[in-house]
Structures are given as C-alpha cells and as structure tokens.
C-alpha cells in the first residue's frame, strides 16, 4: 500500500487506465502537429451574404451567423451588398492605424524582452478587429474592451506617450501603476479600464448601454471578449440581458482560435460562436476579421441598429492570434510555428494594402515609407515616455497612491495603514 493510499479514507478505485480504452471524448486541436487543414467558414465567398435591414429580427441574420461575412475577394476587390463604399482617404487612414499598431506592438515587445516592460501582449493578425470597430463608431460610444483591442485607443487618438507610460508604469501612468501593462483606462476617450477576469465586461457593457437608453441618448456600448471566454457565464448573462432589455450595444467575440494554449474547439461544441446569439434572438454575424471592410461594415450596421433602438448585435470576429498570448507565453509548445502564415484568410494589413494597390491608391514604396515613419514615431514616443521614468529606475507613482482610490475618501483604517508606512 502506498503512502497516499494509506492516508486516504477511500478505497482507490482503478478505472480505465489507457486513453484508447475509454469512451470519454476530449477534443484536441486539429493541427497541433502542423498542417493546414483549417475549418472551412472561409469557403463562403466574398459578397455572398445579403445585407438585412437594420431593424430585422435576430433570426434573419441566421445565415450570416453560420456563414462568414466577407467583402474583399481573392482578387482584392470589394464586392457585394456589404461593401461599405469607403473613399481612398478613409481606407489609407485605416491602413495607417493598423501599421502604426503593429509598429507599436513590435517596439513594446522588444522593450519587454529587454526587461523594460514587465509584460506585453501583441495583437498581430487582429488589427482590423479593433480599427474597423472604432472607425465605425463615434468617440462618444463607450467601449469596454478585453485584451488586444489597443486599436481602439489609436483610432480615438490617445497620446502614445501616455499609453507607453502606462505600460512601463512610470510616474505618468494614469492608472498609477496599479495594473499590469496593457490594462489601459482612458475616460476621456470613453475607454473603460481593462480587467483581467475574463468576460465580466459583457454584462457591464449591457448595463452601460441601458444607461444610455435610460437617458434617451443614442450613444451605444461595445464590448469584446475572446472565444475562450465565451465559455463563461458572463457571456451568456450579457447576451440574455442584452436581448431582454434590447440594450443598444454591440457584443463582439474575437475568435482568434487560441485562448493561451486552449484551442477554440474546447470553448464550444458547435460550429460558430456567432450562432450562439440566434437562440437569444440577438442579431448575430460571423465576420472575416482579416477583412477590414467586412469588420467595418458589420460594426457600422450593428452600431446603426443599436443607435436607432433596434437592439443588440453579436459579432464573431473570425481571426487568428498571430503571436503569443503574451510575453509570458511560448506558443511553439502547443501549436505549429507556421500556423499564422497558413491562415487561409490571410493578414489584415496585407489584404487592405493589396486592395488599395488594386484601386491604384497605394504602392509598395508608400507602404515602406509608412512603416518607417511609424517606427520612428513610436521610438520617439518611447524615449519621451521614459522621461517620466522607467520600469527599472522609476520614478513610479508615489507610494501614497497605494492607498488612494480604494474609496472616494480614505476611511480611518486606510489612513492608519498609510501612517504605518510613514506617508
């Protein structure tokens, strides 16, 4: 009898010891060992789906919830009813935002590797998801994001130095060094403080939307979570409350295929995350997240629908997490290194660039120059941010801030504890 058994009051029951002997089903990623056999929503051609009226019933979006909303075709042309018809300046602006985010992410991850940030998360491959959403909304619309939506801050015009200051938690960090990097908060831009617990933001967005409706304002709320998080109760609370109160909100599942090492096929047993909105009678669509025009068009439709009082929309952004979950993660352990290169829907920057080139509104030379300009701008902003302090040497927010903002005013016990540390 081994020691553990001896200590136990239970009889250890022998069960089926070998995986092949059991009937229990545990899904595995389809291509952990490599390969390119991806699931096939991308086989839906661009331009395939009709555009329902913004006051349609939730069930009328069913086909798009199970299909895939695409505007850019394989020849880099915008086709079909969902083409938002944006002018070249707007398209170039979108491209610029995405290139700028990519430059920002690259620089910050590099700085993290040098030990100058404690942590970082890139959004490689998902740039169109946030940029398309932000450009389809107004700045007065409240956004309650999850990770990897830094594009919202770029489009809404947040100061880069302030963003970097937060990430290196220096004395200029507006959240006073209280959160890990990338947990931005920016009230001026109606960007709500990011929280690490997953999914909590969905019902909060519904509440924020209800507050707009309560006051008779036509602003909306928009929130994002990952496909892994959609397994949480909060996802369902959010959808159900949004449906019940017809809250003017847009709820987005960013299906980037991976929740750290958990493949999306462990997050649900069905074919589509968007389809989960249909039984709640919430208008729901699966959207090619690598296609800026599709992302923009879907958000524009959903935003107008919410603003006009026709209720909520669930969007699944079908995309791919091109890099690690975070600086603390090594995806080579659990997925093939070349998976992003094989992603059948491509890369959002490449695709928007190719579309602009096709239109004769862009070229490689201008693109290279844009990349160089962005890199230069980010480097300069980083240097400027370091004037407010570095992670290594500070200055950090003062120790007295430790006790602030727990309550509106510090109660006696916090004042006493502050006294104990001599401030």
């Amino acid at each position: 009898m081994n020691q553990r058994n001896a200590m136990s009051e239970y009889e250890v029951v022998r069960i089926m010891g070998q995986e092949e002997d059991t009937q229990m089903h545990v899904p595995v990623p389809p291509h952990r060992e490599g390969g390119t056999s991806f699931p096939s929503p991308h086989e839906t051609p661009a331009g395939h789906h009709a555009k329902p009226p913004i006051d349609c019933g939730g069930a009328e979006t069913r086909e798009i919830a199970y299909g895939l909303l695409r505007v850019l075709n394989d020849d880099d042309e915008a086709v079909g009813e969902w083409d938002p018809g944006l002018d070249a300046d707007t398209l170039r602006n979108a491209l610029k935002h995405m290139v700028r985010i990519r430059a920002y992410d690259d620089r910050m991850m590099k700085m993290q590797r040098q030990g100058r940030l404690s942590f970082y998360m890139k959004c490689l491959g998902e740039e169109a998801v946030s940029v398309g959403a932000a450009m389809a909304m107004e700045n007065r619309d409240i956004v309650i994001p999850s990770y990897r939506q830094q594009g919202l801050l770029f489009v809404r015009g947040r100061n880069l130095v302030d963003m970097i200051s937060h990430c290196i938690t220096n004395s200029n960090d507006n959240v006073k060094g209280r959160q890990m990097p990338v947990h931005y908060s920016w009230k001026e831009g109606n960007f709500v403080s990011i929280s690490s617990p997953v999914g909590t933001q969905f019902p909060q967005a519904v509440g924020a939307a209800m507050a707009f409706a309560y006051r008779g304002e036509d602003s909306i709320a928009c929130s994002w979570l990952g496909e892994g998080t959609s397994a949480q109760g909060d996802f369902h609370y959010g959808l159900n409350f949004a449906s019940v109160y017809q809250a003017p909100c847009v709820l987005v599942v960013v299906n980037n295929q991976w929740a750290i090492s958990t493949h999306r096929n462990l997050a649900h047993g069905g074919p589509s995350f968007a389809a989960r909105g249909i039984p709640y009678d919430v208008a729901s669509m699966r959207v090619d997240g690598q296609d800026f025009l599709a992302v923009y068009a879907a958000h524009k439709w959903a935003t107008e629908r919410a603003r006009a009082g026709h209720g909520p929309t669930l969007l699944e952004m079908y995309t791919y997490r091109g890099d690690s979950h975070s600086s603390s993660d090594d995806p080579s352990i659990y997925r093939p290194g070349n998976e992003y290169d094989s992603w059948p829907l491509g890369d959002p920057v490449d695709r928007l660039k190719a579309h602009l080139v096709k239109l004769g509104e862009w070229d490689d030379e201008r693109h290279t120059a844009l990349e160089a300009d962005c890199a230069k701008e980010i480097t300069a902003a980083y240097k400027e941010a370091e004037k407010h302090g570095t992670l290594k040497d500070g200055p950090f927010p003062s120790v007295s801030t430790l006790f602030e903002d727990v309550y509106e005013k510090e109660p006696w016990h916090l004042l006493e504890q502050r006294g104990e540390v001599g401030i």
Partner: protein, 350 residues
C-alpha cells in the same frame, strides 16, 4: 394631511414602519430626489420583491426605473456596474444573501476594484441590497450571513441595519455614497424585533421606538455605530438581529452592559469601540455568521491591539458554529440569550 397611522412630531411626519416599509420609503424618497436612481432584481419590479421592499416603485416611477431581471446574479451585478459607470445610481436587489455568490466575481473583482484599477477614472456607485441571516427556518440557503467575504474586500462598504429607523437612514446614505455599498437587511427583523426566543409570540415594530420613522428624506451617516445601551461592566459589540438578542440577554440578566450596534462594518466606527472598551475593560462580540474568519475575528484583533492595557478579562465571542446553517436544529445554531449570558459571565469572572 397625515396618512393613516402617521403622526407629526417636531415638524416631521412620522409613521410606524417595519424594516420592509422603511426600506421601501427610502427607495421612494431617493427615486423622487434623484432620477439617476434605479432599482432592479429578481421579482423586484412588477411584483415589488419577494419581501415587498420595492413595492410600488414600478407603478409610481415606471418600469425603466424599477424593473425585473433574469435570474442571474452575475448578470445583475454586471449591468449594475455598467449602469453605475455610465452615470446611473443603481440599487440592485439580490433576493437572498445566500444567492450573492454567482455575482461574487463581479462584486469583488469588478465593482470593488473599478475605482482603484482605473486610477480613479471610473467608479460605480452601486448599492446592493440583500436580506441576510437566519431565524426564519430557512435552512442553509436562506439563512446565511456572508458579510465577512465582503468586509475582506477593499473597495466595498458594508452596512447592516437592525431596525426600521436605521434601515431607512442608512440605505439613503448607501445610495448617496459614491463607493459601492453592500446593504444587509436581516430578514428575521423585517417585520419585528426578535430577541432570540422563538417560542415567544411574534412582536411587531409598532411598539418599538425605532419603528417610528419619518416619511420624509433623512440620512444616517455610514461609519457611525450607535450605543443602544450605556453600561459600565462590559462592552458588547453586535449588529443585525443579534442587537436584539443581546439586548434581551442583558435585560434578563441584570448586567450593566454597554451595547454597541455597529451598523457599518466597513468603515468601522473604531472610536466608539475603543472608548467603550477602555471604559468597561471587558468585551464580548456577537454575530450570527460562523466563527472562523468571521467579522468577530477582526473585532477581537482590533480590541486586542487598541485596548489591551485596559482589558480586565479575555475577549469573548458568541457566533454561529462553523457548520452550514441548519434547518431543524436552527435554534441550536442561532446564538442564544443563554450563550451570550454565558460569555458575559466568562469575561466578568476573570
């Protein structure tokens, strides 16, 4: 013209109210004063709540201000936070404190930390009303006193009332507070004071001085305890239903005890506690919740830290047992007058 049963006193229109009516009156006053105040919960809209605390709100103010929700505490807490961060002042009802746990993540990780984590940019002035405590034969899912989970979470204020007058004044202060407040309503006290003797006839609030409540708006500041009986021999710290059980024990045993109804657990009225224990030199702590890591443990530590050299006997605790709240054996669990008397004697004998 005074409503039936109401009287004018010192310029105030007073009425005899139960805690239910006092809570309801506070909500009506706040709905009238502030259009950003909304109230919601399971059965809390049209029906007016399973205990009737939100009765009449929907009828009078509209269903956009007092409404029913799906049965999902995580969702209720989530929308409360969203509304609170976007300019409203939500009062969310959790039907029983025992059912607060599905909302625990939203309360402790989200609501409590929003101000802090956003560097003061965002906050949500949410009040969570919830009936707590036992004495109603509710078994373990309608009797719990979960206050210590929340006193242990920085960012939350925790209030517990023991009578109609306080219920109204404290609830109004809770709603007006810009920090999130969990407002516990001891359900055994809803319709009358309860001294722990379950064999005695039910007493109503009509004959109790604290059952007389102004119809109009007033508030009682958070963080202020009330000394409900002055005495010189021993200080008894208690809150909620236990205030009445302690009072009866003291009355029936002729002990000259000073009884403090804490009313707010966070922030605590430490001055009231310190002054009293330094005067009496003895301290007994009484609560319904289980003992281990209960709020009594915090009170004991504070008294020990601050009043040690004034103490003439060991601090005593009378609490619920460290078991789930029982059904048939409720009265063996519920801290009784006899156990309180025993604890007082134990501290006096030293």
């Amino acid at each position: 013209m005074a409503p039936a049963g109401a009287t004018w006193r010192g310029g105030d229109l007073m009425a005899q109210m139960s805690i239910i009516q006092a809570v309801n009156s506070a909500l009506h006053n706040m709905f009238e004063r502030d259009e950003t105040v909304v109230s919601f919960g399971e059965d809390a809209g049209f029906y007016g709540g399973v205990f009737r605390c939100t009765a009449g709100l929907q009828e009078k103010f509209g269903k956009h201000r007092a409404f029913d929700t799906p049965l999902a505490e995580g969702g209720i807490m989530g929308i409360a936070i969203g509304m609170g961060m976007n300019g409203l002042r939500p009062v969310a009802e959790i039907q029983f404190a025992d059912y607060i746990f599905p909302g625990f993540d939203q309360i402790t990780n989200e609501l409590a930390k929003l101000r802090y984590r956003s560097g003061g940019e965002y906050s949500a002035p949410v009040t969570i009303r919830t009936p707590c405590g036992g004495g109603i034969k509710g078994g373990h899912y309608h009797s719990q006193s979960p206050e210590a989970y929340f006193t242990h979470t920085p960012g939350l204020k925790v209030v517990i009332c023991s009578n109609p007058y306080d219920a109204k004044g404290l609830l109004i202060s809770s709603i007006e507070c810009n920090d999130p407040v969990i407002f516990f309503e001891p359900k055994r006290l809803y319709n009358g004071p309860f001294d722990g003797d379950h064999t005695a006839a039910m007493v109503k609030w009509d004959s109790h001085p604290k059952g007389e409540v102004p119809e109009e708006y007033y508030n009682i500041p958070l963080g202020k305890a009330e000394t409900i009986r002055e005495g010189k021999d021993v200080t008894i710290l208690c809150y909620g239903t236990m205030v009445h059980v302690v009072s009866a024990a003291v009355k029936n045993n002729g002990i000259d005890a000073e009884i403090i109804d804490l009313r707010t657990l966070v922030p605590l009225d430490i001055d009231a506690i310190e002054d009293s224990v330094k005067k009496t030199g003895r301290c007994v702590i009484v609560h319904e919740a289980p003992r281990t890591s209960g709020f009594g443990a915090e009170l004991m530590s504070l008294v020990q830290e601050r009043c040690f050299w004034h103490l003439e006997g060991p601090i005593q605790r009378v609490t619920g047992w460290d078991t789930p709240y029982p059904h048939s054996l409720e009265w063996d669990y519920f801290p009784s007058q006899a156990r309180i008397t025993e604890a007082i004697k134990a501290t006096m004998e030293e």
